[in-house]
Each structure stands twice: as structure tokens, then as C-alpha cells.
């Protein structure tokens, strides 16, 4: 950790007010060259506002910024970039319709810069296909692109907003090594994240924000532990009670039988003969690095994509050929990963969002508003949310929207609940609420399938765990049999998966 006499960036008394909300309130922050500085906080703690101010996208209402000791006004993205501040936003600042090269040119890279970009890519071992259209790149490729662009533009301060949110464990690890490397080169890295483990591994300093204020700072992170940081974030962390688990019942709730799909479009993954049974009262976790067929599996399980009838059974009803609505009637509920847009309609009210999936809410085509409001309030009350049913969904925070969505799906009393990283991008307390709700559902005899790239989430939930790799599914191991070694092998495709084993058996026979 290099301690420069003059800090690279020092922020004093920063304020930003949106209408009635104080997003940033007297924030003091000092960032030195050569350090990885973690910025932690729950949803709505003011991290995003701070990031936008640093990017030059939003102007603060008060306070001062000093860059290498000189007062500066970050009045546009250009100014920030010229100083050497580079921000990689969570939703990348890329034009999906243009190629990688065109995006770089748009960001102001000339031909010689492009050459340096290639050199940097080789040096850091971050390959990016230059002629591909950005919409065909994976999340991690887009991130590499953004990062390399910042490095090519000689960024001295890199602000990374939730950089590992969409990366698998192996990719995250590589990424964290890279962050250390950048710090060792004398750059400063500001890491914004929810993941405490990451902070402990990679950061030199951690600053915790809560409700727009700095509530804590830990400089000697070796001595600190996750609990201290979590306590600062939440204020008080309720003791996590491992729910007493009853063994799953033997009755199958969801059966995949040689479930296969063709790869659709040029960048999709084909699912290859997945066979697995999920029993009632069981939570099955499906792990894997992003882009190994998760989207395809969710589509085919939820009914967004149809297959042959017998390849998927709900209890003992063949349902592979049925669409979403028919599967809902049979008792399937779905919490998609895109909670705004796929999971809900943001421009509609909470009650209307309940109406979209609920049955028995209309009579002769007329909406039964009283009944609907009661149901909506029940869903909200389950998670201690107090918004009136007429609130627009778009006005809920990310964590609230996710709890509402999970609550809505649970209220349908499903036989099988399908959930795609249900606690992604929500704060600690909200994640706990959702995990508790899913465990409660399990205890009632519902089968739950959780598809996620976040191992913490899977370990908190699953009874058995299977790994998806290049469209093939490993056997589902009981959690007692899952160790890091086995998991890492399966996720990297080293262990023989069910499909391969079968293939070998066929070849041998």
C-alpha cells in the first residue's frame, strides 16, 4: 500500500439532493494512489450517486473535490476522463449495435490508441474480439472491454461499480487478481460491491455508506472481519438462524428427462440431454459460470421455450410442450433474473402486477378490485413492506421490487418454484428475507429450483447442487458431498458430467 503525501482524490462534504431525498450527505473520502478502496453499502446507501458524480454525469449540490491537491469541478464525463478518472458502470456504457472497435472510436480512441488497446489486452491477458458486435459479447467480455478502454486512456483512478455481479467464481477470482495488479502499478481502484468476502480479499481500505452518509471506515482490513463490515452496513445484523430442515419427501415434483434444445442464434448454448428429478420439499441449486446454458435452461423450464412433452414432467404431468400460462396452472411459478421487464411491468401498479399472474381475480372479465387489493397487501405484508397497492412498481427500490416479485410468486402456492439468482443485487437484509421465504416454501413441500452464479446464495439455500457446464448438467450432489474441489472441477468442465458419462457408456456399449 503506497501512501502518497498528496492523495489522488479527496472529497470533502459532498452533498447531493434529489427532491426530498438526500442521496449523499457530507461525504468525506480520501483515495490514495496504489490502493484498492472498497465502497460498501446497502441498496439506496448513496453509492450510485457518488459514482455518477465521479463520472461527471451528475453535479453535486455541495462540497469540494480535490484531484492531486487541486480543486476540480467534474462537470462532464469528458472532464473526468481528462483528469484520469474512469468509471465502469454496472450497466456498461456501450452501444450494443456497434462493434467493439466502433465503440472504442466513439469513446475517443484513435488508431494509435487502438494499437495500445491491443497491447494492453495482451499484457493483462484480457482477450476481446475487436470486430464483434457488442450485443453478442458476454457480460465478462463487455467488462473487459470497458476496463481495457479505461487503461488505454491512462486512467489513474478506476471506479468499478459491482464489477463481479455477473461473473462466475473463477472469473471473479481472475478479476480480483487484476485489481491488485492495477493497484500495484500505482493506480487507485474504487471497488463498489455488496460482497463482503471480496472486500476482505482484495481491498486495502473499506468505507461504508448508509443512508447517504459515511458510517464507518476500516483501514486495516486484515484485522477486520466480515461481521464488522456487515454490522456497519446494516446497523445491526440479525443472527442468521439455520432453518431446521426436514428431509425432502420422496415424491417427484419436477422431472427433466433427456431435456435437449438446439442452440438458438449464433451465440446460444445447446442443452444436452439433461436428466434430473427434484423432489417435493427440496431446494435444488444449479451452479455454473455465466453463459453455460443458464438462460436457455430457465427458458425451457419456465415455458418461454417449448420442447417435447415427455422431456419435462410437473409431478407426473408431461408439460414440455406447454406454454407459460399452462404451466402456471399446473403449479409452476417463476422468479426471473430480470425483475423489471420480465418479472414485472414497472409502469404498472403493484396491484396490477399481481393481477397479471393471479387467478380468480376477475369475474365475467371484470377485475375484482377488493380481492386484488387484499391479495396485494398480503404479499407486501409477508415481507413487511408498507407501500399501498396503487404504488407504481417502478417507484420501488431494487430490493423491494425483488421481494414483491418473490412474494407474488409464492402467493400462487406453487408446487414448483423456479428462481434465477433471487438475491442478486439486493442488500444483506433483503437477501436474508428472500432466503427465509424460500426456505419456508420448501418446508411447506414445494420444490424449488435456484439457478445462480452466486455460490453464497446457493449454499444458503440448496439441499442438493448440480453444475451446468456448456449445456450439460452434472449429477446433483447432496450438500454434504459438495466440496470446493469437486465444484471447481465441475464448473471448469473437468469432471465427467452426466451427459459425457452417458456418451462414454454408449460408445463403450
Amino acid at each position: 500500500m503506497a501512501e502518497a503525501a498528496v492523495p489522488l482524490l479527496s472529497i470533502r462534504g459532498l452533498r447531493k439532493i434529489y427532491g426530498q431525498t438526500v442521496a449523499n450527505d457530507h461525504i468525506d473520502l480520501t483515495i490514495a494512489a496504489g490502493e484498492v478502496h472498497a465502497l460498501l453499502g446497502e441498496n439506496g446507501a448513496g453509492k450510485s450517486t457518488l459514482v455518477k458524480i465521479l463520472a461527471g454525469l451528475t453535479r453535486p449540490d455541495g462540497g469540494t473535490l480535490h484531484w492531486r491537491g487541486e480543486p476540480v469541478h467534474l462537470d462532464s464525463p469528458k472532464t473526468a476522463r481528462r483528469l484520469g478518472i474512469a468509471v465502469v458502470l454496472q450497466h456498461f456504457a456501450l452501444c450494443p449495435g456497434l462493434t467493439v472497435q466502433e465503440n472504442l472510436r466513439l469513446a475517443g480512441l484513435d488508431r494509435p490508441d487502438l494499437q495500445r488497446f491491443k497491447t494492453q489486452a495482451a499484457r493483462y491477458g484480457l482477450p476481446v474480439p475487436l470486430d464483434s458486435c457488442v450485443m453478442h459479447l458476454s457480460a465478462s467480455e463487455r467488462q473487459r472491454l470497458e476496463l481495457l478502454r479505461c487503461l488505454t486512456q491512462e486512467a489513474q483512478l478506476l471506479v468499478l461499480d459491482e464489477p463481479t455481479a455477473m461473473l462466475g467464481p473463477a472469473e471473479s477470482r481472475t478479476f480480483m487478481t487484476l485489481m491488485r495488479q492495477l493497484a500495484a502499478e500505482g493506480r487507485a481502484v474504487v471497488l463498489i460491491t455488496h460482497k463482503l468476502q471480496e472486500v476482505l480479499e482484495v481491498a486495502d481500505v473499506a468505507t461504508v455508506l448508509r443512508r447517504g452518509r459515511v458510517v464507518g471506515r476500516l483501514t486495516d482490513l486484515d484485522a477486520a472481519n466480515a461481521r464488522d463490515l456487515a454490522t456497519m452496513m446494516v446497523g445491526d445484523l440479525p443472527q442468521l438462524q439455520p432453518a431446521p430442515r426436514t428431509p425432502p419427501r420422496q415424491l417427484p415434483a419436477l422431472t427433466m428427462h433427456r431435456l435437449s434444445t438446439a442452440a438458438h442464434r449464433d451465440h446460444g448454448v445447446a442443452l444436452q440431454e439433461l436428466s434430473l428429478t427434484v423432489r417435493r420439499g427440496e431446494i435444488l441449486g444449479i451452479a455454473g459460470v455465466a453463459g453455460n446454458g443458464q438462460e436457455e435452461l430457465l427458458a425451457v423450464l419456465s415455458g418461454l421455450q417449448r420442447t417435447s412433452p415427455a422431456s419435462l414432467l410437473l409431478e407426473d404431468e408431461p408439460c414440455g410442450h406447454l406454454g407459460v400460462a399452462a404451466r402456471r396452472t399446473l403449479g409452476l411459478a417463476y422468479v426471473p433474473s430480470d425483475r423489471l421487464g420480465v418479472g414485472t411491468v414497472p409502469s404498472m401498479t403493484l396491484a396490477e402486477n399481481v393481477l397479471l399472474t393471479a387467478s380468480g381475480m376477475s369475474q365475467l372479465g371484470w377485475v375484482r378490485h377488493g380481492r386484488l387489493a387484499v391479495r396485494t397487501r398480503e404479499i407486501l405484508a409477508h415481507f413487511h413492506l408498507h407501500q399501498p397497492p396503487q404504488t407504481r412498481l417502478a417507484d420501488l427500490s431494487g430490493g423491494m421490487a425483488q421481494r414483491f416479485l418473490v412474494g407474488r410468486e409464492i402467493s400462487a402456492q406453487p408446487k414448483v418454484l423456479l428462481a434465477a439468482h433471487p438475491t442478486w443485487g439486493v442488500d444483506v437484509r433483503c437477501a436474508q428475507d428472500i432466503i427465509a421465504a424460500l426456505l419456508e416454501l420448501r418446508a411447506k413441500g414445494c420444490a424449488v429450483v435456484v439457478v445462480s452464479e452466486d455460490l453464497d446464495e446457493l449454499f444458503a439455500l440448496a439441499d442438493r447442487l448440480a453444475v451446468l457446464y456448456r449445456g450439460q448438467l452434472s449429477p446433483a450432489w447432496p450438500m454434504a458431498e459438495v466440496d470446493e474441489h469437486r465444484l471447481a472441477q465441475a464448473m471448469a468442465g473437468l469432471a465427467p458430467t452426466a451427459g459425457i458419462a452417458e456418451h462414454h457408456a454408449l460408445a463403450a456399449g
Binding site: 464525463p77 456504457a93 466502433e102 472510436r105 466513439l106
Partner: protein, 300 residues
């Protein structure tokens, strides 16, 4: 040979207004702004261009006025839809009527026809080019200008900073802004350019094609130009081909006559409109190539 040349001339004359208005709308839509008001802007250009040209006796001044007046009206549209973030469909339809109304007022006392001798003429050298020479450069410079404009656009489309700015503003305005692209300015300029081209297209109709001023004389060519942009998949070269295809359809009567076919002239006159409907129906199934942020108020 004479017959072919005459047909080619006729096609170029009927394609040019479509090409001009289409090229303007293409730039405008690529930047993310849908301007449904083309028809109104064209009428505005037609009336103001005709009045100025007949009063001053200068064709060039007339055409410049046509482009300028429509660009001014388009700027107003831009301020309303980009800066005040009004609904682009409603606003665009409003501008069809506003443009038509203003054109009626402007052209109320217009003379029946242009004074004799008001003309741009061709380009002596280029008109002797074999094949398309006379069609593009022999009658008037505008036909050649329209083709050259679209070819230059194609050249700059994705290989110049300005071209990439257009794409970024229409595709991902948030990302573009984060990359330092002045999104609103790019959009406003694109809308103004679109307006100028529509106005020029209208001026071409009233000063060269017809030449006279009459209410509603654009005969829905603005709507055809809008369809052409979709037909072209928001790309310049297909726009050029499309405009000439539609231009040829517009001259179906002449073609039929030349070939000695006995088909009802009314049916032939309907061809471009039928083709527009067919193209729109076909392409609405596949929005490939459409700017992602087209017609969405921003910032949302």
C-alpha cells in the same frame, strides 16, 4: 435508346424527392428521433420555395428558402420532442397538419407558374456520362446531388466520428452520454438536417418536378419516404436503391405505355402506395436494424 433514356430521366425525377426526404429522415431516425411530420415539412418547403423563387427569379434562392424554412420548423419539432420530451408520434402528426397549414397560408397568393427562365440547368460535363449521366446531371443538379449525398452518407456512416455519434445517440443514449457524446445536440442537428432535406424535397417538387404550387401537391410522398427508411433497414445504400425502385413504380404508367401493356392507369398509379403497405407489413415482422432508442423520450 431514346425511350430508355426518357424512362430513366422520368425515374430519376420521381425518385429524387423520395431520396432527399428519406435521407433526411434516415439521419434523424438514426439519432433516435422519429419525425412523422415529413409530409408537412415538404409542403412547407414546396410553398415557401415556390413563392421566393417566383418573386426573386432565382431557383437557387428558392431551393435554399425551401430547405431553410423546413429546417426551422423541424428545429421547433426538435425542441419539443428532444428538450421538452413530448411524445414523438403525437407531435409528428401535429406537424403534418401544421406544415400543411402554414404552406397554405404562404402559398395563398402564389402565381400560377414560375416566370420563364428560372432554372438550375444541368452540369455540362457530367451529363455526358454514359447511362445515368443525363438522368442525374442533365435535367437539374438536384437529382445528382441527392445521389451524391446518400453515397457520401454511406461512406461516413460507420467510419466517421459523426456517424458513430448518430448511431450512439439513437442506439444507447445513456451510454453515449457517459462516453461524452452530446446526445441532445446530435439529435437536434439530425432533426434540423432531416427538416432541411424534406424542405429541399418539397422545393424540388414545386420548382422542378411540377413546377407549380398547389395545396397537398406532395401527394403523400412524405409517408412513402418514411416507409423507405424502414425498407432500407436504416442504411443509406439500400435507401438509394429503394428510392429508385419506388420512383420507377411511380412511373409505372409510362413504363406500361412504353412496353405497350394495357393495364388500368389507376391501378398503376396506386402501385407505390400498395408497395409501401406491403413493405411496411413485411418489415414490421422484423425490426432488425432499427435504432434501439427510436422514438423514446430521453432521458427516461
Amino acid at each position: 435508346m431514346v425511350l430508355e433514356s426518357a424512362l430513366l430521366d422520368a425515374t430519376a425525377r420521381s425518385a429524387t424527392p423520395l431520396l432527399l426526404a428519406g435521407a433526411g429522415e434516415l439521419v434523424c431516425e438514426r439519432a433516435g428521433v422519429l419525425n412523422l411530420g415529413l409530409e408537412g415539412l415538404m409542403l412547407m418547403g414546396a410553398a415557401s420555395g415556390f413563392v421566393v423563387a417566383s418573386a426573386s427569379g432565382s431557383m437557387a434562392l428558392g431551393l435554399a428558402t425551401a430547405a431553410g424554412a423546413a429546417a426551422g420548423l423541424a428545429l421547433l419539432y426538435g425542441l419539443l420532442t428532444i428538450h421538452a420530451a413530448l411524445n414523438q408520434v403525437a407531435c409528428g402528426l401535429g406537424f403534418v397538419m401544421l406544415g400543411a397549414g402554414l404552406a397554405t397560408v404562404i402559398g395563398r397568393d402564389a402565381p400560377g407558374q414560375l416566370p420563364a427562365g428560372v432554372s438550375l440547368g444541368g452540369i455540362p460535363w457530367l451529363e455526358r456520362l454514359p447511362g445515368v449521366g443525363h438522368a442525374l446531371f442533365g435535367q437539374d443538379v438536384i437529382a445528382g446531388f441527392a445521389v451524391a449525398l446518400v453515397l457520401i452518407m454511406a461512406l461516413f456512416w460507420r467510419s466517421s466520428k459523426l456517424g458513430l455519434w448518430l448511431h450512439a445517440a439513437g442506439d444507447a443514449p445513456d451510454a453515449a452520454r457517459a462516453m461524452g457524446v452530446p446526445v441532445r445536440l446530435v439529435r437536434l442537428m439530425a432533426v434540423a438536417f432531416g427538416g432541411a432535406m424534406s424542405g429541399l424535397s418539397g422545393g424540388y417538387l414545386s420548382l422542378i418536378y411540377t413546377p407549380m404550387w398547389q395545396e397537398g401537391m406532395t401527394a403523400n410522398r412524405g409517408w412513402i419516404a418514411l416507409a423507405l427508411v424502414v425498407f432500407a433497414g436504416w442504411r443509406p445504400v439500400p435507401l438509394l436503391l429503394g428510392a429508385y425502385l419506388f420512383g420507377a413504380l411511380g412511373k409505372a404508367k409510362e413504363f406500361a405505355q412504353a412496353l405497350g401493356l394495357a393495364i388500368s392507369p389507376y391501378a398503376l398509379d396506386a402501385l407505390p402506395y400498395l408497395a409501401t403497405i406491403a413493405v411496411l407489413a413485411m418489415l414490421s415482422r422484423n425490426r432488425f436494424g432499427a435504432p434501439r432508442a427510436l422514438a423514446r423520450p430521453w432521458p427516461s
